[in-house]
């Protein structure tokens, strides 16, 4: 089966006065139809940047400096603005973080839905309006037939995010990029919105790239997970393997910092130090200054993604040719 | 010597001076402003002729074009007006009046506005409500209209002989009073912020009186924005004075400002003597533009939260 989205060796750079910064470096992954790929990592690791590059809306001076992005086997990273515009919304939907600022305050939610559908679908205004009401019902807005004429400020935050979801999906894209869709919401609402996204994705057979720093959301929703660090993918694999048996020392540290629910712990594990700034990414493995298992090779050579069994991790511990091999703690069972 | 050089060194080393040096537009405006200031301030010593010395005026010299034109005369580099006055000297003396009125008016509105703003912000309550309501109402009207009106009322209220004596002060008063609300509003909002800070509370706890706290603790903290507004207002004040004088209700004809010169020259525009009005106009624009650019730079450099 052909992946719906394939990212190959993606490189994003920013030209600044102090030279060119590489925000994404060699990012590769693919998403199959109907699959949910979670993307996790600290702020600034390049999660949102990857999403923005895919929908072709990198903020200048950021630009794609290398690699390819393929949608259904067709390259989309080198399209002109107008060609890419026809793909946005129609073939790739996008959901943003803060529902309070994502909706235009001056138009009713119905108007915004109708406008989006009329842009992409061969339907008339009356049909579009009917579908707008339908969509509002589908995302769980009560009394949708009346609320379709309400303005965004008349909805609560959680309801607005449902509207945003409807807007992102109303032109029926096969692929959705959701950038921190629940971060700005109340904790009690987060689960509802995630459940909605998940069920819609399943129902419509939609693929999704779910960017978040919330491991709970990932564990709940994703089929596979990519862990990002300093603009690179550190580890990628099935959600169960990455969450329960991470192989990369960074993913291991990340997972260990999540408080377990089933037992009491005195101290949560934390990773010493901080992620390097883009202007000061170290030689070799970007994680090497913070890594508890670091050895000489990590400081000299940059690791590619290597098979570790269940997942693939960018770590020299998994190269049989390395002088040091992964310790028991990372081998799990 | 060292005592003078030390602060100078600090100034040359400061962020402010760095941002100044990095902006060529600002450096040029500062130079232009300096030339205007020196030329106007030292007019009696620098000007080639004394335009007010009636004995030296000769109608034969009237309407001479600038020196570089065919009928020009090297003694009058920018030509002469209808009475044979040297235009360059008249402009220098005129700029003196314009600057004087502008600076005094801004000082007046700054003092008035800062005082009212401090009072409103610190005292709060009814005083605050009343003062700010007045400021709101006045802000609804363009300041030039207020200045015109104040000037007109004073003109009507005073006998003509008295008015001629104090006309300059009337103009300063009229322009000054038309611009205070902007200062008052900014100072008030900064005062409201400062008032609740701990150092002011501490000052109150140790028993300092309210006026004392306002002057020694709150005032220094609101001076940055005030300086910026004052600079930006200087350009406006100069324009207001020129406008009033152009309309014939500003400074008295015996003390012509740039606006008066433009008004006089305007009568000869149709007959082709363009220089009598264009050169004073250019001087006015150079002055206002350089002051405005300096003000813009100062606002960005100090970056107070204006607007």
């Amino acid at each position: 089966m052909q992946p719906i989205l394939e990212v190959r060796d993606l490189r994003v750079e920013f030209a600044t006065r102090r030279g060119t910064l590489r925000a994404l470096d060699g990012v590769s992954f693919s998403i199959m139809p109907g699959e949910v790929l979670g993307v996790v990592g600290e702020s600034g690791a390049g999660k949102s940047m990857t999403g923005a590059a895919i929908i072709g809306l990198l903020e200048p001076p950021g630009r794609i400096a290398g690699g390819q992005i393929l949608l259904n086997g067709r390259r989309i990273d080198n399209l002109r603005y107008e060609e890419m515009r026809r793909i946005r919304g129609k073939e790739i939907g996008a959901i943003f973080q803060d529902p309070l600022t994502t909706l235009n305050p001056l138009y009713t939610v119905g108007d915004q839905l109708v406008e989006t559908m009329l842009t992409h679908l061969p339907i008339g205004a009356a049909e579009a309006r009917k579908r707008a009401v339908n969509w509002l019902e589908m995302v769980g807005i009560p009394a949708a037939a009346q609320r379709v004429d309400s303005y965004p400020h008349e909805f609560s935050g959680g309801m607005r995010q449902r509207v945003v979801i409807a807007l992102a999906l109303c032109a029926e894209p096969r692929m959705v990029v959701a950038d921190e869709p629940t971060t700005a919401l109340d904790v009690s609402i987060q689960a509802q919105v995630i459940a909605l996204l998940k069920s819609l994705a399943r129902e419509k057979g939609m693929a999704m790239m779910l960017v978040t720093h919330d491991m709970g959301v990932i564990a709940e929703t994703a089929d596979r997970v990519a862990v990002m660090y300093a603009g690179r993918i550190a580890e990628i694999g099935p959600v169960r393997a990455v969450v329960q048996a991470p192989r990369h020392p960074y993913s291991a540290g990340l997972m260990a910092s999540i408080p377990p629910l089933d037992r009491k712990v005195e101290h949560l594990a934390q990773i010493e130090g901080a992620m390097p700034r883009l202007s000061a990414i170290p030689e070799g493995c970007a994680f090497n200054p913070r890594c508890p298992h670091v050895f000489d090779r990590c400081r000299a050579e940059r690791p590619e993604l290597l098979e570790t069994g269940a997942t693939r991790a960018a770590c020299w511990l998994y190269d049989p040719a390395s002088e040091k091999q992964a310790p028991e703690a990372l081998r799990h069972a | 010597m060292a005592a003078i050089l030390a602060p100078l060194g600090r100034l040359l080393d400061s962020d402010l001076f760095y941002s100044f040096r990095r902006s060529p537009v600002t450096v040029v405006s500062a130079l232009v402003a300096l030339v205007c200031l020196v030329g106007a301030g030292l007019a009696p010593w620098l000007a080639p002729h004394d335009p007010f010395d009636l004995a030296s005026l000769n109608l034969i010299d009237a309407f001479k074009p600038p020196a570089w034109m065919a009928e020009g005369d090297a003694t009058y580099p920018l030509g002469t007006d209808d009475q044979g006055r040297d235009l360059l000297s008249a402009i220098m003396y005129g700029a003196r009046i314009s600057l004087l009125v502008g600076i005094c008016a801004v000082l007046f509105s700054t003092l008035l506005g800062v005082g009212i703003g401090l009072a409103a912000g610190y005292l709060g309550g009814t005083v605050d409500g009343l003062l700010m309501r007045i400021a709101d109402i006045q802000l609804t009207f363009p300041s030039i209209l207020i200045a015109l009106l104040v000037d007109g009322v004073v003109r009507a209220a005073l006998p003509q002989e008295v008015h001629e004596h104090i006309a300059l002060f009337v103009v300063i008063f009229a322009i000054g009073i038309s611009a205070w609300p902007q200062f008052a509003r900014t100072v008030r909002s900064s005062t409201l912020v400062e008032r609740n800070k701990e150092y002011v509370l501490a000052a109150r706890v140790i028993g300092l009186s309210r006026p004392h706290i306002m002057l020694t603790h709150v005032l220094p903290n609101v001076l940055g924005p005030v300086l910026v507004i004052a600079t930006l207002n200087l350009g406006n004040a100069i324009i207001s004075e020129a406008t009033l004088s152009f309309l014939g209700v500003g400074v008295p004809p015996t003390q012509p400002s740039l606006g008066t010169l433009i008004r006089i020259g305007n009568d000869f525009l149709g007959s082709g003597e363009w220089w009598i009005t264009i050169f004073p106009g250019a001087a006015l624009v150079a002055m206002v533009l350089s002051v405005n650019l300096l003000g813009d730079w100062l606002r960005d450099a100090l970056n107070p939260k204006l607007r």
Binding site: G89, T119 | F141, T277
Partner: protein, 326 residues
């Protein structure tokens, strides 16, 4: 809606009262209207008769109430200078000023918004930079100098357009219009540009700043992410949001046009209310000044009301009471 308008009108009343009070105070206490009206020779009896006929012997509040009553009927007495009813003078001059202000406001709004949108969308193009520089000069040039420069270039040197007056006007009832004759239209060009240019540059800078602000917002990014056309994003979404703050300030600026008409009318000897006012100021013709002040206040209050209503129409967040809960 009705309640909204009503509350705005109620808010405007104190402003009008304050202005009326200032006018009244000028009328009553500045100069000596009795002496001016009587002229050189008069007896004490004549004087007393005039004082009581003007109601000047009445208590303060009675006088003020009478002043307001007369002002509402457009009754401001005789001009000291021209000895004609002030209301008649103003009615005669109003069409000239209003037509000029209308043209200037039109130029300022249409060109200002267009240039602001352009410089906001294409902020790095050379045309945008040129327009911005031009606007900075525009803000620093006093309006009367712009008028003088335009006259010098287009009247004196090129001889294309008249430098003063309204040209031929056509009388439509009491309204005299310059819109219907070629010379009237030609006469409007230079004064309208002079009067509009300052507001134009302000509106342009304002629209540009707001446009840049709005283009950075999430809802514009989201509109792009939904694949809406550039046209829809720029004009449907960005411009409409830009208009909310622009309406307020532009409204106040347009009020300024009526006031700045004083200067423009002086430069171009335009026979409007502004010229009447400035002639009155220089000879302290208080009744005309008082009436003009009240009229200007009325114009400003009306513009503010119109701005509030427009605001209400554009921004749904203001329409309280429509919300159907969360």
């Amino acid at each position: 809606m009705a309640a909204f308008i009503l509350s705005r009108i109620l808010q405007a009343i104190p402003v009008m009262l304050v202005v009326a009070f200032i006018s009244f105070a000028m009328f009553t206490y500045v100069g000596d209207p009795v002496a001016i009206m009587l002229g050189q020779d008069f007896t004490e009896a004549q004087r007393a008769a005039l004082v009581s006929s003007l109601g000047l012997d009445q208590p303060f509040f009675v006088q003020f109430a009478r002043f307001i009553g007369q002002a509402v009927q457009g009754e401001f007495g005789l001009s000291y200078r021209l000895s004609r009813p002030v209301a008649e003078l103003i009615a005669e001059r109003a069409p000239a000023t209003l037509e000029l202000a209308f043209c200037a406001a039109g130029i300022a709004l249409v060109v200002g918004v267009a240039m602001g949108v352009y410089t906001g969308l294409y902020r790095n193009s050379w045309l945008s930079r040129a327009l911005l520089t031009f606007s900075l000069v525009g803000v620093s040039l006093p309006p009367f100098l712009i008028g003088i420069l335009l006259i010098l270039i287009f009247s004196v040197w090129l001889g294309w357009l008249p430098s003063f007056g309204r040209g031929e006007v056509v009388q439509l009832g009491w309204w005299s219009t310059g819109f219907l004759t070629w010379s009237g239209l030609k006469a409007l060009v230079l004064p309208s540009i002079t009067l509009g240019l300052f507001q134009l540059t302000l509106i342009m800078r304002l629209v540009r700043a707001e446009m840049l602000e709005v283009l950075r917002t999430d809802y514009i990014k989201f509109a792009r992410a939904r694949g809406l056309s550039n046209r829809a994003v720029h004009f449907g979404h960005a411009l409409k949001n830009t208009l909310v703050p622009v309406i307020t300030i532009a409204g106040l600026q347009l009020g300024g046009i009526i006031a700045f008409a004083i200067v423009t009318e002086t430069v171009f000897q335009w026979p409007g209310m502004g010229l009447l006012f400035i002639q009155s100021v220089s000879v302290a013709d208080i009744p005309v000044m008082a009436a003009y002040l009240l009229l200007i206040a009325l114009v400003f209050v009306s513009i503010n009301l119109a701005v509030d209503l427009l605001y209400y129409a554009v921004d749904p967040r203001l329409r309280v009471g429509r919300g159907r809960g969360h």
